[in-house]
Each structure stands twice: as structure tokens, then as C-alpha cells.
Amino acid sequence: MQTWSLVSICVLLSIIARWGVSLNSYSGAGKPPMFGDYEAQRHWQEVTYNLPIQEWYFNTTNNDLNYWGLDYPPLTAYHSWICAYLAKTINPEWVELHKSRGYESTQHKLFMRTTVLVADLLIYIPAVVLYCLYLTDGSSKKKVSVMFCFLLYPGLILIDYGHFQYNGVSLGFALWGILALGLGWDVLGSMAFSLALNYKQMELYHALPFFCYLLGKCIKTGLMGRGLFLLVRVGVTVLATFALCWLPFLAEPSQAMQVVRRIFPVARGLFEDKVANTWCSLNTLIKIRSILSGDSQLYLSLACTLLAVLPSCIRLLTKPTFWHFKLALVNSSLAFFLFSFQVHEKSILLAALPACLLLNDLPLMALWFLQASTFSMLPLFLKDGLLVPYIVTSLGFLFFSIYLLSALDHCSEDKLRLGAYNKLFCWVLKMDLAFIVRWKFYISIAAMVGLSIAAAVLIAPPHLPDLFPVLISTTAFLHFLGTFIHFNVVQFSEPPSRKSQKKSN
């Protein structure tokens, strides 16, 4: 069969999967007074359509910031405006100021789900297809298999089409940026990434690798010649993109400041809810939130994040190749997730995207991490009533990645790319590395399955009401920490040689 037909069939299958998930419930369904993220998006459509631009981020009589105030950068607001315009033409009740609060109906749900699908079709899915066809190695069947598994990643589908968000847009723009940098179009890549940053500020997790890669490239091509020219062009593009997105808010400094204050709320604490990062997991042993003051918490997390991020970024700066860029993206986003301030569980998607890029090179580790990331969001899915889609998409993803990518066959030292470090492991353990890795994988999957069943079926004892969320987040944290260390080790070992690449095809 020709590649284009295989690609179309896979894309259509992923669309069916997405739409199948969207038939289920969304966050905050039928739960007044605050509802959930779905109502937040609807409210932003209401606010952006009915109010003038100067009032969008301010607390006015018409715009109560306590009820889902806008806390994403301007591009989200513009997107909401476009959706609101369409909503108004179909049914004005959906975005009527004040009166449409808590509006829920099957038609409205269909409309909102369609907006997510359209955004995905326009931005995320084409980026994935192009990336897999042009920037992965292997036969065309291998490329299509990678693309299929990439599109089937459950975490993004469940959050965007279940819980309800527009992560596909920001991750899609980031992916376009990565794609462009991979093809050598640095200016376009930086423009795409700036758009991603202006859609969701969490893309800052990816900012350091982009910066270090481009800077490293400039230095390599000579800081006094073409490198400087590239640096200037990239800088100008980034500034121009930002200026264009923030144009309405640059008229008055107070406007811009208010937007910044809304998108970076530093008044909150080290973490909220149960999230699979260091601080929350540490909190189970030492009550860190009560020991340290607010300011020292901020400095501590800043210091730890910087320490975690620096090794990978400096390595990228010295060796600005695409392979190191991909690894740095994973490492940087994981470092931010594990050590940063006010991290939400959905931020793991920012680490999941670069991991999907590694599905071709390091299939087992990538799919292991991706499965763990989906598992870490299980408490959220249970709250939204998305248990059945979670089970179906996770099973599908696991089965097809293992089958199509032959993940369990690629466990040898060579394939894991650990380089010189695997000798350390073998000396310590005196066993075959592939054997250890495979069994660790099986045990980990069994643990995740067991905990999922327990969390879905059993009721926590009354003196430990958060037992299952805590267990889930701690297990996920251990997986993330392990992945973080592993990918850092891979980044510091030698890149794959030509010979071993030919063998793997």
C-alpha cells in the first residue's frame, strides 16, 4: 500500500479515537457553581466577545476575575474570540454576557468539541504527520507506525477531548517550531515557538532548549559572521511576533503589567492538589509547605529547577545537534515539572510531547514514560468520569506501540544508547541489561494497572481520604524521576553512530 493511503487511514483512525473520547463527559459537567475547565473556556468566549479588549484582564463589574478570569496570554483570548464569533452565529445564548453562565446543552457540547477537533486538524495533526514523514529514520512503514503511535498518545487526547482544553494548539505550534528547526528553517521555527509561548505561558518549559540550541548554532557558525546574522534575525522575529500578539496591550504599560500578573500568579503556594513532582512527594515525608516560608519556597524551587536544567542545556549549547535538542526538550520540561513552582498535573503534557519525538529512537523508554504520564493524570480522569476512555486509549496505545515499534526487542545496551554508562550498571548488577529493563517494565505496568483498578473500584479508608491520589502521584513521580535521570545519561553519552543506526532499520 502506498504511504499516503496508510497515512490517511492512520489519521482517520486517530480522529475516530479523538471523537470517541469526546462523546464522554467533560470537566465540571453538571457541577455548579464553579463547574470546570469547559465552563472556563466558554466563559472566556463570553468575555472576549462582549467586552472591549482593555477589560479582558481586569477586574470590572462586567468581568469578575474570581470566576474563571483569563490567565493565559493574548493568543488564547483571540482564539476564544474567534470561537465566540462562530458561537454567536449559531446560537447567541451560548455567549450572552452574564446570562450564559453555566450554560450546558448537547448542542453546545457538540460545538465546543468541534472547535477542539478543528484546531487539532489545522495545527497539531499536520505537524505530527510532517514530523514523522520527514524527520524520522526508517522505512515508510516504520514512519507511519511512529506517526500512528504519536497520534494515539492518550494523555493529550483525554485532556483535550475529555477534560476539555486546547493543548493541541500550543503543543502544535511548539511542534511546528521543532519541525522547522529540524529542517533548518530557524527563523520560521522561532516564530512558531513564539506563537506557542503566546498561547500558553507553560511553553516556557521548552524555552531554554530552543534558546540554547539556537545560540549554540549561532556560536558554531561563528559569532562574528553568519552566526551573528542568524542571532539577529531570530531575535527580531521573536520580538516582532511578541509585539504583534501583544499589540493591543502595549498602548498602556498598566495593561501589559496586568496581563503579566494574570499569567504568572506568584501569590500561590509551592503546589496545589496532588501532583507527581518532587515537592508534593516530599510533602508526604516532611511537611515542607509548613516548614518553609513562602519566599524561601520560591527560592528553593528556583534553585532546584536551575540546577536540574543546567547540565542538559549546557550540553546542548556545546553540541547543538537535533538529537541533543530533542533530548534537552525532554530533560528541560521534566526538570521544570519536577522542581518548579505551582505545577499542575496537566503540565506533564509538555514533557510528553518531546518524549513522543523519541518514539522512533528510544521506543521502550518513550512509551514507558508516556504511559506513566497518562497514569499520573488518573485522579483527574476519575473526577471527570473518563475512566472508560482512559482504559481503552491506554490499552490501545500500549498494545500498538509495543507491537508496531517492537519496543520490547530494542532493549540491548546498544539500543538504549546508554553508551559507556551501561558498563557501570552491568558491573554493579552482573546481569543482562535487557533482561533487567524488560522486567522492570513489566512490573511497572503491572503496578500501574493494579493502582488504576484499585483507584477506580475501591473506596479509600476514612482516615486517609487521599490515599489513592497520593499513591498514584508518588508512583508517577518515581517513574518521572527515573526517566529524567535516564534521559540525562543518554544525553551525556555518545550519540548513535552511523553503523548502529543502519542495524536498527
Binding site: 500500500m1 502506498q2 493511503s5 490517511s8 487511514i9 482517520l12 483512525l13 480522529i15 475516530i16 479515537a17 471523537w19 470517541g20 473520547v21 462523546l23 464522554n24 448537547t106 448542542q107 457538540l110 477537533l117 472508560v388 476512555p389 481503552v392 490499552l395 490501545g396 498494545f399 500498538f400 507491537y403 508496531l404
Partner: protein
């Protein structure tokens, strides 16, 4: 016939296809369900809560039990599992009860019972003739057949969205066909007897079985020129077949005959009070007949040949399921449809009697019986087209000409199923599944023009028409157009299949 050997690592791709489609089916759990969901819930309740003597008399709900007894026992078995999901669904009085646990249970029961279909598909893939020389796995006939059977678009729509147990039933049919292709005729007969007692619609294809088994199994040898050798008649074989069929029927109907309820059961199974056509016309001859009648009536009134007052009111396009009369052309009675059906399948049956062509000839005759009954039968449902489409897949992967017919039949047959699923959230599913199927068949057989026509019709009917002013005055028009368009396709496929049966010399197909 010689069973072929599959490639060594063939099992892995088959399991991948099976697992993939089963997971896909889980995505439809929360989708639209038709009244058939309530029908089966009611049957679960009846078989669980009431004694056997009341099963065929119960009519609290309008959806009375109208499948043969073995299916009732199947529902009884399911109801034992249903108890652990939600016991409330098993109360007969709980009409239209649809708690999340009920929906989950019923949907999962369809997905799980499809394992019969998956097994049958595997057996069929084993019987397919492989061309010489190793090829890419994606071009092997067994792979294509597995996709066409397991991922059959029509079956997914009807079973997993609309809600029925056709996968389970077709599993028996395909398994029976596979057994015949493997020359295990007694097993095939047993499976078919079982199937008849599960759903009596398969009486449509019983003549094919009867003629084939009598001719090719009971007469053990043929003369050199292929004609019948009367001396080789084996009474033992005939008795074996008879014993199998009667024992299965006794198992199924026995209790009801003992209770003297046979007339009641038969009246439930064959409700002739319904009209010639369903509310939505199946794409058969009578749809074309109705359109002709309506056109003549309208023309007659325009040309002042008829009085408008003479015409019967509220014709069949009213969308109701009752008996009506035709305006201009003579009305059609059940007897007429029976005669037409028998006449249409007679040449096929005669053909395999006079010149048997082995199991594949039998399969062709089966298809013609199914299509003939679909074309001329009384109160045919459009879902019955699947009885023709699924077995045709087996022939389609072996023979280029059959592939062409298959394409026409599936395109129109599947498209005729669309009106069953009319709610807006289902539109992306319909479009995506249709595109996937088109791309797949386009890669293997070029059918560019037919597909273009189909998409054109689809976009007009689903997108343009609802927004046009005619929507109010003629709400039935899209369904009518769909019926007529599909009826023409089905008729054409029927004629071509007949031609291929009657004109075929011997059992040597041209491979793809």
C-alpha cells in the same frame, strides 16, 4: 478443495487487527443507540424474570420477542451476567431503562460476543487461496480479507452504534461457510442449523444450503461430464444431515411444541401485518416500484388522466410502517413477493444442481439467494444487505471481477445504512469510516468514479438539503433518494453476480 497454509508469523497481524477493532468498538459505548437497545434490554428482562411458558406471550413492552428460541436462551445466558452490572434492567416494567451500567453491559456484551465473528474471520482467512510468491503483508489476500471482515464498516455501524448482535450471528454464518470451504460439510450444516434457530432471517439463504448439500454431499460422485450420478446417492449422509437439523430444531422448539405454543411462536416470528416496506425503504426492487408508482401518479394527475380524489391518501412516503395500497400500479401482496423471490433464486439453485462448482459455487449461490431475497422480499430491512456483503468479501479477495462487484455492493449497501444513524455527533464517525473504507478499497481496486458519485450524493443530502427550503415540504426526500440510488447499485450487483455464476465455466478464478 485444498486448504491453504498461512505464512508462519501471520497470527500477529491478525491479533493486532482484532485487538484494534475491539478497542475501536469501545469508543462507541457512549454514542447514540437506537430503539434496538431497549428491545434487547426488554428481552433480557423477559428471559430472566419470566418462566419459559410466558416468553412468547409477554407484551408489556411493544418490543415483543420475535427471534427463535435459541436466541432467547442466549439472552437468558447474558442476563445471568447482567445481574452483576445492574439488576434493575432485568425488571420487565422498567421500560426504556438505560443507566450507565446497563449501557456499559449491553455494549460490552456485543463487543465480547464478537469473538465468535473474529474466530470465523480467522477460519475464512485460512481458506483463502494465496497467490504464488511472497508478497508484502499488506497486499496478501488473507490480510485484505481480515480487514474487510473485521473492520467491516456496515457491521460497525449496525452493531456497535445502532445496536444489534449481528457480529455474533454472522460469526456462525461465516464459520459455516468456512467449514464448507474446508470440506467439513457436517460441521457446516450443524452451524447453519444453529444459526437458523438464532435468527430466522437466514432462511433467505437456506435454499442454497439445501441444494448444495443435497447435490454435492449426498451424491458422493459425479459423472465425468459433471452431471449427476444417481447411483452414488448416500442415504447415510442424507440421514446424518437430517438428524443434525432435526435435533437442533428439536432442542430449540421442543419445549414450545411440548407446551403447545408453536402457533404463537410462529406468529411472533413471522409478523406479516407489517407493510411492504419499512418506514425507511430498503434499497430493493420495491423501492424502485414505489418510486415508479408515485411518479406515475403525479404524472397522471398533471396530465389529467387521474382524479386526485381517487388516489389513496397518505402514501408510503408518510414514513409510517403500515399496510398501504399503491396508487397506479397493482398492489403487492406477501404472496407476490414470495413468488418473485423464489423465481429470482431458482436459476441460481438450478445452476449449482446441474453444474456444481464446489464450495465456491455454493458461496455464489448463497450470495444470490441472499441478494434475491433482499431484492424481492416482504418488509426487508436495509441491514439485511450485510448478509450479502460479508460472504462476498471472501470471493472478492480472490477474483478481480468479484472485487468489482463487491465494491459496488459495499458502496451502495453501506451508504444505505447511513440514515440509521442520523444524530449530529455521529457525523464525524460516518465520514471518517467511509473515507477509510474508500481509501482502502481504492488502493486495491480502482473505483474512482463510483466513489466520487457517492461523495457527491452524500454532501448534497447531508449538507445542502437540510439547509434548503424543501426540507419542510418533503422531509422524506433524502431517504427516498438514498433508497433509489442504493437500489440501483444493488440491482446492478445482483445482475452481475448472476452473470458470473451462470457464465462461469469451472472453478478457476482469475487471481488479483
Amino acid at each position: 478443495s485444498r486448504p491453504t497454509v498461512m505464512a508462519a508469523d501471520s497470527c500477529s497481524w491478525f491479533s493486532a487487527l482484532a485487538v484494534g477493532v475491539s478497542l475501536l468498538k469501545c469508543f462507541f459505548i457512549s454514542a447514540y443507540r437506537s430503539t434496538d437497545f431497549e428491545v434487547h434490554r426488554n428481552w433480557l428482562a423477559i428471559t430472566h424474570s419470566l418462566p419459559v411458558s410466558r416468553w412468547y406471550y409477554e407484551n408489556t413492552s411493544e418490543w415483543t420477542l420475535d427471534y427463535p428460541p435459541l436466541f432467547a436462551w442466549f439472552e437468558f445466558g447474558l442476563s445471568q451476567v447482567a445481574r452483576s452490572f445492574d439488576a434493575n434492567m432485568l425488571q420487565v416494567e422498567n421500560l426504556n431503562y438505560a443507566s450507565p451500567a446497563t449501557v456499559l453491559f449491553q455494549r460490552l456484551s456485543v463487543i465480547v460476543t464478537d469473538v465468535v465473528f473474529i474466530y470465523a474471520a480467522r477460519e475464512c482467512c485460512r481458506c483463502v487461496r494465496e497467490p504464488k510468491g511472497s508478497r508484502d503483508i499488506l497486499s496478501q489476500p488473507s490480510f485484505v480479507l481480515a480487514v474487510l471482515l473485521l473492520w467491516n464498516f456496515g457491521l460497525l455501524l449496525v452493531d456497535h452504534i445502532h445496536f444489534q448482535y449481528n457480529g455474533f450471528l454472522f460469526g456462525f454464518l461465516l464459520l459455516s461457510v468456512a467449514k464448507h470451504l474446508q470440506s467439513q460439510h457436517l460441521q457446516g450444516a450443524l452451524l447453519f442449523a444453529f444459526l437458523l434457530n438464532l435468527k430466522h432471517i437466514y432462511l433467505y439463504v437456506a435454499p442454497a444450503y439445501g441444494v448444495y448439500l443435497l447435490r454435492s454431499y449426498c451424491f458422493t460422485q459425479d459423472n465425468k461430464d459433471g452431471s449427476i450420478r444417481w447411483s452414488s446417492f448416500s442415504l447415510l449422509r442424507l440421514l446424518a444431515l437430517g438428524a443434525i437439523v432435526t435435533s437442533v430444531c428439536a432442542l430449540s422448539f421442543g419445549p414450545f411444541i411440548a407446551m403447545g405454543q408453536l402457533p404463537q411462536v410462529l406468529s411472533r416470528l413471522f409478523p406479516f401485518k407489517r407493510g411492504l416496506c419499512h418506514a425507511y425503504w430498503a434499497p430493493n426492487i420495491w423501492a424502485l416500484y414505489n418510486v415508479l408508482d408515485k411518479t406515475l401518479a403525479v404524472l397522471g394527475v398533471r396530465l389529467k388522466l387521474l382524479e386526485e380524489a381517487e388516489l389513496p391518501l397518505a402514501s408510503m412516503t408518510g414514513g409510517l410502517v403500515q399496510e398501504f395500497e399503491h396508487s397506479v400500479l397493482p398492489s403487492v401482496t406477501p404472496a407476490v413477493t414470495l413468488v418473485c423471490t423464489l423465481l429470482s433464486i431458482l436459476p441460481a439453485a438450478a445452476s449449482i444442481w446441474l453444474r456444481p462448482r464446489g464450495a465456491r459455487g455454493f458461496l455464489r449461490c448463497l450470495l444470490l439467494c441472499a441478494l434475491g431475497s433482499f431484492m424481492f422480499g416482504w418488509h426487508v430491512h436495509e441491514k439485511a444487505i450485510l448478509i450479502a456483503i460479508l460472504p462476498l468479501s471472501i470471493l472478492a479477495v480472490e477474483n478481480r471481477e468479484d472485487a468489482g462487484i463487491f465494491l459496488i455492493l459495499t458502496t451502495t449497501g453501506h451508504y444505505s445504512l447511513f440514515p440509521l444513524l442520523f444524530t449530529a455527533p455521529l457525523l464525524p464517525f460516518k465520514v471518517a469510516l467511509m473515507l477509510m473504507f474508500s481509501i482502502f478499497s481504492f488502493t486495491y481496486q480502482c473505483s474512482y468514479y463510483l466513489d466520487t458519485l457517492k461523495y457527491f450524493t452524500f454532501s448534497i443530502l447531508e449538507v445542502v438539503f437540510p439547509l434548503s427550503p424543501w426540507q419542510q415540504r418533503l422531509p422524506f426526500l433524502p431517504l427516498l433518494v438514498t433508497s433509489v440510488y442504493c437500489a440501483m447499485g444493488v440491482c446492478y450487483a445482483f445482475l452481475r453476480l448472476y452473470a458470473s455464476l451462470l457464465l462461469q465455466r469451472e472453478d478457476k478464478p482469475k487471481l488479483l
